[in-house]
Amino acid sequence: MALEHADVLRAAHLARLGLSDEDAAHYLDDLGRILEMVDQLQALDTEGVAPLAHPLDATQRLRADEVTETDQRDRFQRCAPAVEQGLYLVPRVVE
């Protein structure tokens, strides 16, 4: 499955990675070769094999529905780039 320039730009947009046309061109060759290596998988017959998501086939554990966390907003916001009155600041979203 050959990769094209537009595929790189599409993936970059979906991943919110700001790539210029030149950046995308630069990655195209590397990504193409990585996918070519990955395409070896297609040679293997996996008909009827169940996908393995977790090496121990574990399922999500449940716990009692109890409050275990306390409010630590101030502490956690200390590492934020911009906050005001407990809110994260971003450029205006709604005009």
Binding site: V8, A15, R16, I34, Q40, C79, P81, A82
Partner: protein, 486 residues
């Protein structure tokens, strides 16, 4: 002091030969003197270290010392450490001071260990040479022109150079075992879920696992005792009791059944590495083990499957770096999308961007089944190969890496770098434990013997590794700069 193993240091502290403060000051002085050249630490924390050392000495004076009290340690910069810069080797987290400790860090602090600082690594643990760090490459203490391996390259180099007696690493596709092999130390990747991942900056959540890196298998056992076990804050951490991993170290190996996977001795394996590994296997035969060839028929598909699964998980995990809540934010964003896009393009290095792009592409509409579902099916076949092999033998042995440490700058092409991990990567897909132990040299560069066991066979692996270290002295060899007396 830096020529001693962790267990020897523990005995010396108990005997009162020196204090934890004296030991910590000695290690900090070595870091200050030698690490400018090696670059194994991103952050050194002398004040916190000395405070912790004094607390350890005080605890000892009150008769409250445990087996690890007062022993220094270096921590890979992927583990969150409260109040200390935690970068993951990335410009994205170049300003991130963690508000909390990883579970493993919390446990080691509670055990009285003294953190010397945070070690260099490939950015977000993506790499096999430590050349992908935003904080510069690490030099291999055995030969400055060689890489230390990756991604836990700083941890391996720090231990090899005698800057720290032990270190924490993480291993997603070989990131403990390969740098341990390249730097001539011992490194254990436990079974997936044996050690909590809480507070370890995530790369690929179904593959990541933390483990000890030290000079000996015995030291790794001591550390695993302290870090293994269930954690309510990591739902993938297995609810299973922790044995004393030192208990079986001295068990004899007569009757041990060793399998040599024929796929691990094929094309691409350096003949000198192969010779060292086969020599090591002979040592085991002399200890009463029997050896047979086995097959892991899907080995060839492990790297392709990994480079679908790991980037897919990484693209999801790394979506949290948005320039809003923590980490790097671009200057003067025009709108929210611009803020996301520029913050991420500026904060992530090239290899991280490549893996985010691959993961996003393979998970996107129209490609998901062909890539992701297919890779997960292959993952099951790869795990089955190991389970079948462990029906016949107790452990598998082979090289940790096809070559000794390569030169800095030698693998500029991403795919050729990926292929370096041929013998380690399948282990993470299968979730089984593996350990690398020093087993010889090619020129000045160390060779690692990799030993693999079935799920939760850490006790056995540590026993098998320890017995080798009772019969050989490769693990005692030191690079010239670690043999100095101060």
């Amino acid at each position: 002091m830096h020529d001693k193993t962790l267990s020897e240091l523990a005995a010396a502290l108990t005997a009162g030969e020196f204090t934890s403060r004296e030991l910590t000051e000695h290690q900090l002085a070595r870091i200050a003197r030698l690490d400018g050249e090696i670059n194994s630490f991103i952050t050194v924390t002398p004040e916190q270290a000395l405070t912790a050392a004094d607390a350890a000495d005080a605890a000892r004076a009150k008769g409250q010392a445990g087996p690890l009290t007062g022993l220094p340690l270096a921590i890979k910069d992927l583990f969150c450490t409260q109040g200390v810069l935690t970068t993951a080797g990335s410009k994205m987290l170049g300003n991130f001071v963690s508000p909390y400790d990883a579970s493993v860090v919390e446990k080691l602090k509670a055990a009285g260990m003294v953190s010397l600082g945070k070690t260099n690594m490939d950015e977000f643990a993506m790499g096999s040479s430590n050349e992908n760090s935003a904080f510069g490459p690490v030099k291999n203490p055995w030969e400055a022109g060689a890489v230390p391996g990756g991604s836990s390259g700083g941890s391996a180099a720090a231990v090899a150079a005698g800057l720290a007696p032990a270190a924490l690493g993480t291993d997603t596709g070989g990131s403990i075992r390969q740098p341990a092999a390249f730097c001539g130390i011992t490194g254990l990747k436990p079974t997936y879920g044996r050690v909590s991942r809480y507070g370890i900056i995530a790369y690929a959540s179904s593959l990541d696992q933390a483990g000890p890196m030290a000079r000996t298998a015995k030291d790794c056992a001591l550390l695993l005792n302290a870090i293994a076990g269930p954690d309510p804050r990591d739902s993938t951490c297995v609810a299973r009791g922790v044995p004393d991993y030192t208990e079986e170290l001295d068990a004899p190996l007569s009757g041990l059944k060793i399998g040599l996977p024929r796929e691990y001795f094929g094309d691409g394996l350096d003949p000198d590495v192969e010779a060292a590994v086969r020599e090591a296997v002979k040592v085991y035969e002399s200890l009463g083990a029997t050896v047979r060839e086995v097959s892991l028929p899907h080995t060839h598909y492990a790297i392709p499957a990994y480079y679908v699964i790991a980037p897919a998980e990484a693209s999801s995990n790394l979506s949290r770096y948005d320039g809003v809540r923590f980490g790097h934010r671009c200057q003067a964003p025009g709108d929210l999308i611009d803020l996301y896009k520029r913050s991420r393009a500026e904060g992530f290095g090239a290899e991280v961007q490549r893996r985010i792009l691959i993961g996003t592409h393979t998970l996107s509409e129209g490609f998901f089944d062909a890539y992701y579902t297919k890779a997960q099916q292959v993952r099951r076949l790869i795990r089955q190969d190991f389970l079948d092999a462990f029906e016949e033998v107790d452990v598998l042995m082979g090289p940790a890496s096809p070559t000794p440490a390569f030169d800095l700058g030698a693998n500029n092409d991403p795919v050729s770098m990926y292929l370096q991990d041929i013998y380690t990567i399948a282990v993470n897909l299968a979730g089984i434990p593996g350990i690398s132990v020093p087993a010889g040299f090619v020129g000045k560069r160390p060779v690692g013997l990799q030993i693999l066991g079935t799920h939760f066979a850490e006790t056995r692996l540590l026993n098998v590794a320890h017995q080798f270290q009772q019969a050989t002295d490769w693990h005692l060899r030191r690079p010239a700069l670690a043999e100095e007396t101060t």
